[in-house]
Symmetry: none
Subunit: 138 residues, 4 copies
Amino acid sequence: MFELDVRSRKPIYEQLVDKLKELIITEILKTDEQLPSVRSLAQELTINPNTIQKAYRELENQGYIYSIKGKGSFVSPATHQPNTEKIVKVKKELTKYLSEALFLGVSTAELIDLIKEIEANVGGGMLNDEDESSEKML
Amino acid sequence: MFELDVRSRKPIYEQLVDKLKELIITEILKTDEQLPSVRSLAQELTINPNTIQKAYRELENQGYIYSIKGKGSFVSPATHQPNTEKIVKVKKELTKYLSEALFLGVSTAELIDLIKEIEANVGGGMLNDEDESSEKML
Amino acid sequence: MFELDVRSRKPIYEQLVDKLKELIITEILKTDEQLPSVRSLAQELTINPNTIQKAYRELENQGYIYSIKGKGSFVSPATHQPNTEKIVKVKKELTKYLSEALFLGVSTAELIDLIKEIEANVGGGMLNDEDESSEKML
Amino acid sequence: MFELDVRSRKPIYEQLVDKLKELIITEILKTDEQLPSVRSLAQELTINPNTIQKAYRELENQGYIYSIKGKGSFVSPATHQPNTEKIVKVKKELTKYLSEALFLGVSTAELIDLIKEIEANVGGGMLNDEDESSEKML
DNA sequence: GTGGTCTAGACCACT
DNA sequence: GTGGTCTAGACCACA
């Protein structure tokens, strides 16, 4: 399920954050769906529960999930009130990596293709095709 | 000139690497142009020379600059022999941030515009041997 | 264990890199085995931890080890996907020293013997999953 | 004639030493032949005369050339009294690089070919085709 | 003058 | 406890 690379320079908790974000963005994890418990996930991945905890906390800070004491962690509904601050940050990163890609010889066409390809995978975004059923929970 | 954020979670030397890479990619720093000396830059930015050194070393490892002991540090010529390994890495990062941007509500059109805008700034790419305006800077 | 010559013209960290490379190549240090911690090795060798760090970092760059923040440093699995660039470099050095050896009167036979001798010590190469004697060391 | 790589990590004077050694070893520069003067070589290569000077001094120390004040520098006759100390050093380097080559996947056969190829280029040396004379050595 | 190495000692981030 | 970053200050090697 999760393929963590312990050899990576990137901290494990960050890898976890990225993976979970991806699952949420691609709507493999749907709004209000429950995430695996800290302990079960820790056991499954054979890593320290504190590491999972840290990843969940980070996701909560970024607004991707919410936690309820005693019950668990759940996927937040997509807010769709454009979060300017975050968008600015992401665009900054994008600019950095797009420049580097172009510098390394990747063509514009290739990059546009990449965007389109990704677009197809991202949960319809704000008009997310037919999830009408995710409105309970707190 | 360089705006470093000493409080950032990103190490100073990495910030420096990114800034300098940017200057090289946009050809504000031209091939074989001399970079500011370790010590002068350290003084200008009021950070430790070792930190600058670390950044320069990293840039050297990544192939962006080369250093000569008694002489200084200089911009490497762009190789333009596509470095597959690096490209794969960059594309991975791009995928991550592009997904996130789309999820945050940035439109595809906007992203394509971003690419085109960046493309205009990145060094002419392959052929710029006869650049007429290589005045020093910094 | 490690014999470092602090007076040598070769930097300490490079001596360390060479020694550790040797231990890895001869498989005295096995894949995924943990290296001594930066601090413990520094204490043992009575040199500065930063120097050890630098050596470890260099080994990481060269692909011989990998480091995980809160855990330690470990031997990378041998990739065995021939790294052309590195091979070219090594062959260049070999040519230099082989010429010199021949010039100094070492016979071809002697050199071939040297190769065979070394070959016997270098980790079996491809297939050594079922090594029976992987006791720790260091 | 000399192709020096100013971008190399290796100091220029060392590159010079290596090149000149090579010319002497391959007997392109014959015994007692005069080397170019420090100043003329400096001019030709457009590098600092001090750098040439340093290279020549090093070659003199290693016994490859000799200098006569007011006259110039000349190739030393090959001594042929096996220089144990040097041979030990060279063998040490060879062991290092041979190990690495084998580790990187270069075959023994390939290495032996390399030796034979080099042997053909090295100035007959001591005539050591089947040198019967190289078996003493401390 | 340049880059490069090393030390001593502090503090942070991750597990 | 692990690796990683940073500083202040010293000394060396190269051109």
